[in-house]
Subunit: 321 residues, 6 copies
């Protein structure tokens, strides 16, 4: 592994120094040899109410100065397993949803083209759609979706491409196989009594927070693993799945969410699933308190990075460390 | 149901738009036909230490823009069950406790006079006393009181009408039947060793946080339902019952409180109790962080609204929706 | 004058109480008899960088609780001179610039239709364009524009309808007469060396902050009055004309701006100009500090209200106070 | 001078260490030998709208860690001139205006009884009344009053003892000679057109901000000195005299106020007036930004301390430094 | 017990009044007769990344105004059991680690010399080392260490005396017996795979958060008590053991920590252990939100005070209450 | 000029996107061909009281997203005149003043070695000393120093290398010629009456704020230019020269400072002086409000960049624009 893909030495260099990248990964353009590309997606035009997640990638980069090198529980050291870089932000436009989605899709397509898996930091949840369009190539994939919201509405204010609809669009477009999709933590109050009808009818498994309260966490993990099976899968972790006390910095806060420890345990439970990509959307620094939400996002994104790194054996072989 | 009592259409109208009312309910004066009147009570002169809950109603109105229409778990749609309006704030005076309490009592009396049930957003906890004086008409009622504090002191600094005393006064005045009163979540450090003696002697059931830690939540719910029975009851939910990590914006913060999920489950467990009114006091925006506490209060007030709406069958019949 | 158009009595009713309206004006739909309609315009999709002024109207309403009844220097009491109401927010859409601009234009057209003058609280500066489209009826009008930015670019990221372009569009559409337009306080760093060429060529008078530093304020006032003359005129006061120390809560902060006292003196100097409408855009609460910017905006909007009220003799006559 | 009255050595001891007192003065009970007693007055029940200045003394103590020993311009070293101590807070009650005012008066009477001059840190502006009642002994004194508000209303919501009335009460009670009273910086919008009539009729000189804008500062200083003459005088400096950009942490913010440099120059200009006491009210930390207002208050209180110390020659003689 | 060591009467005196001390204890120099000395240690030069805990003692003093007199669960009233005082801050230097550590050690030595037990409020975790050097006199003691980090590295950036190393140094210096040391709550991501090797090899018992998630809390308490046995023991409670949602105001935030209720239950479970001293380091107000972390720290420090007071029978005997 | 040294196109790329560099300059290692190297210096161990400016460079980078390309008044486009890059942060150590100063000096020496001029963003004011040690090569240079503090003490708490002493050290070491040094804006209260004696005796010209209040700004500019003459000069602009209302985010706040407009005018007045380097220290984000101080710093640093770029004709020639 060349020095270029190494993380800054966190004991020798003070963590307050230098330009922040995601988890202090090396900066690199998208180029052959990368196993995992961490990218920002500063897009939030799909937000109907509390806009601002365009500032999410910058905030998560800054707070990821905290993250060290090795996972506390899994003992995985992703930078030793894989060649990982911060490839910067996907291009977007300030005024156009369709232009931005096309640019995002194209950017992630180039990541897939070089054989790397993406870890995307949002931006609002609309971004999952262009990412899936870019990276899903051999038929629909499975989904692990941790969120307060199902995001399977048909439209909001007549807009079909927004943060309330990406998973419906992705199923419609054959990118996700609803039978292998599972949503965990749903607890949103409803706009209308049929908000969840489509998702249920499609075959998506929804595990509501109310149900989660009454089941052992290990049981939920087992159910997720059964649903996903040995398929290629995508991991979408909305920061608003957490209770606002842990993650106030997000647009659509829903009191009554997961603790960080619960999400950490869920993620640990996913080790070994064949993830082809992951995202962490909806960090919105304008509503944050002292960078606290971005700090949690950085920590959970590191967990996602470990899951991605663990599942990419070729990268490990090539590195030969 | 006339359009006047309808909530703004939350999918068609952006939630950041228009003047905020409680849960986007229609504004209305107190007038016949209302089933539930949501009112602010911007009174905080009963606060010995960290004053400021006078700004609570405005903050909760603003944050209740988030709330949608249908309860996540109960699937209750209160605006379909009942005629509900935001009737504005009870009148108060800036310099006088007794004048303010008289004005508040009179305001809530007019709500009861038209046959509506009140949902009051505080203001400090003193407000429960004038509300009970206004709405209790056929003998003492039962009480479900979720709080970090018992609020049954005799006086603070010689003041008998303050936020540390309302439940003692209400029992003394025959508004509450202590045998049917239950307090959940008490965890305050004590001024003196006899702080809770009167409450215990009166027959009020106190479930301390220390005890709550060791019992299943469903067991506590069952006990509450047994104590309250089929009586008319009042529901008082102090925001400081929550741990400060969930609700920092309050005067008398007591570390070690409920999670939002616990309070949500407690409230769900109360469905079917015959509540004649409810309040949510002690939201204090000056100590809040980005409106986060007011956001939680809006969410829990919506839960209270569902409990009130469910228990008012006449309203449902008349509406005929 | 009916009670309906009166401002709440600020000495008898505590200012923290009740639902906030602009300067505690009565709420009213747009209806005949109004002289001045104060309206929120929660539109910010024209913002390329720091979005968020959609929350401006709500914040200014809340902070305008501070404003009393009579101007400190002019001794004008606008609520005694005119029938004034808070007519709520113009309708907007969360995802569409053109749909929103059409809705805003239609809303302000209805204000002009009843013979009232609008005072619009933004929202981003794009809103001036649909307002001018709605209210300019007998040929181009004059403009007093106080701002850090000229807002006469042709486009930003290919978008011709955004907050960097409204005055160029308005001149192009014949709504403004550039010879009678004056911009005061311009101090923006430039994207390109020709940023101001169009404005200068069009005949708009630009008074840069650098020039303002060296001239007596009274001299600037005299020049503005000469340029505007006795024409009908529009008054657009961008909150970012103020130095960020006075108004941090805005998107495009430019250090080195006006003091509040300077803007107050400029506004006082405009008394008697025949204003047909006014706006105060770019208040962005997400960047504010404790509502401070919204507080200043409320104060300056009251000054604008005095200028509008003073210039509407018919209203005064009819009121007969 | 005993060590007990010395300020902590600011170069040897880090200023973040130890319990904060006003300007790191020694703590002392009120006892003979003191020349100047700095006292907190945590009373804010006289506040009709934005309460919270009860927390002012604690915040100013904390921020006065910044202040060093010698005035930047005057080169006065008050701790070398006089025996100065932080005598703690005046006693107050949480629920009663009259009880609190009586306790405050008694506390300051004991300061006068030992021959010391008080410097009082508020608390709301009501406190000036009991202080004057305590310390004015040989007939009415002169007043230099720097404020955004005249505070000479008769009552607010029927309350005659509140922060809008102290100077009216003090004149009525013969504590102040209105002919030798001057108010500088008044800029409040008015509740009613006669708000200032009583003050003007009484003979108090009011210098409005609008007038201040057009006069040299030195001219204003000269006028103040002429009005006060060689009388004993009291100095009341309301923190809201400053523009909110300098002092956001106060209840009744009025945009368009003094800069800090202007108030510093005004205070320097008062050197030599025979001040018998001074106060600095209305610091309200709940509205402050990072202690910034309390920091300014600490700085200006140090300036007041220099003025008091300079005018107390006996202390100087005894010290014999 | 003389009045001097009494806590301010919290019902009679408003808690916002007077100069703040730790839990409103009397201020006192270190002098014979004290049973417990509460001291601030404003040292943070041992912090590699997010410095600022030098401001911790001041913040905890301020927030400890909230604490009342008697423990909610244990019903212990420490001020009745022991003579307790706030002895001020240990002296430190702004620029030198060794000079500061020597001064701290000397300060705590004087506390031990008079027979009192210290309760130290940090300051960063380096402070535990000089405290142990001062108070451990008859051979190594046991340790209960609640923390997100093991703090047993050899050095950071070549510095052997910093907040990542104190427990390694203390074991090396014979101050702690590693076999009787237990660390609870460790969850840090690792700098290197051998970060914990020394601690494990030394015999220190480490209970990781991952393990804690799967065990009953009572079981963990029992294990701690077995490890500590009847030895003299020291109690070190790092505020970052709490999840950042409860305690954001600290330097090295690690998402996924204890709830306050868990730490409260752990502390209650330690009643009866023979603690010779205790500390609560790493409160860093610059990262706090409205004093919330300092509030929690004050509450937990009161719990520590109860444990210390309960275990000092001589003090109890002498007091004779 | 290769694309590598170009600034991101600010109209085409949203300014919220991508990793922030100083003024969106290209990132580059220190390498031949650079004319101006912008560097962060995250060192704050020279701070006796309110530490935290180690986070300054990151904050200024983030806020410099705002800055566009061409100076508002001077019309200088520095990126067209010179090859400019963000060269990252100087290396520092978390625990050692001397090690850090040596590393900083070495880093800036490499900048001078390639013939580039440095623009350094602090970090505390200590950093000026190692920078001067690195870049002053042909005898002492002149100094323009804008600051609230003289920073010419001999030591603080026995430390001779801290932020209160750099200019004394630099004169002692023959790096600065005191006769050609001018300090503007000094207004600090004094630790001792002789604080400024050394500076005055050395021949440094000190222009105090009190004097500045009474002189035309243009007159001060002329005096500065006379003192500096045609020498090589260094420009040190302490952010605390500004009033805290403009720049609250700094350690040693001194109420009563410059407005931003004054400093902007001072800087414009310096055009043509032969600056060999410049710095902007003491931005301390932990005390900032929403990045506001860092925003001002970014703006003033851009002004400094224009001054540096204008004075480097060789760079201009080579570029061949």
């Amino acid at each position: 592994m060349t020095e270029r893909f190494c993380q800054t030495d966190v004991l020798a260099v003070p963590r307050f120094a230098n330009i922040a990248t995601f988890m202090r990964a090396a900066q690199s353009p998208i180029s052959p040899g990368l196993d995992i590309a961490i990218a920002g997606v500063p897009f939030d035009l799909g937000t109907a109410f509390r806009i601002g997640s365009r500032f999410g990638p910058a905030a998560v980069r800054e707070q990821s100065r905290h993250v060290r090198l090795i996972h506390s529980v899994l003992k995985i050291s992703p930078f030793d397993l894989c060649r990982i870089a911060d490839v910067g932000d996907a291009p977007v436009r300030s005024f156009s949803i369709p232009d931005s989605l096309a640019l995002i899709e194209s950017f992630f397509r180039s990541i897939t083209d070089i054989g790397a898996a993406p870890l995307a930091i949002g931006g609002d949840h609309t971004i999952t759609l262009p990412i899936l369009r870019a990276i899903v190539r051999g038929g629909p994939v499975a989904l692990v979706h941790i969120d307060a919201h199902s995001d399977t509405l048909d439209k909001i204010q007549n807009e079909r491409l927004c943060n309330g609809t990406p998973f419906r669009r992705a199923v419609e477009e054959g990118l996700l196989d609803p039978k292998r999709c599972v949503q965990v933590g749903i607890r949103e109050t409803l706009f209308a009594s049929d908000d969840h009808d489509w998702a249920k009818a499609s075959g998506i498994t929804m595990i509501f927070m109310d149900e989660f309260n009454t089941r052992p966490l290990s049981d939920v993990v087992a159910q997720i693993r059964t649903i996903v099976g040995r398929s290629d899968a995508y991991l979408s972790l909305d920061i608003d799945s957490l209770d606002p006390s842990f993650a106030p910095g997000t647009g659509a806060v829903e009191p009554g969410g997961f603790t960080v420890r619960e999400v950490q345990q869920l993620l640990i439970g996913l080790l070994g699933i064949r993830f082809i990509g992951a995202d962490l959307p909806e960090v919105s620094p304008l509503y944050d308190e002292g960078g606290r939400t971005a700090r949690v996002a950085a920590s959970l994104a590191f967990d996602q990075l470990c899951l991605l790194a663990y599942g990419r054996p070729k990268g490990r072989a090539e590195v030969g460390t």
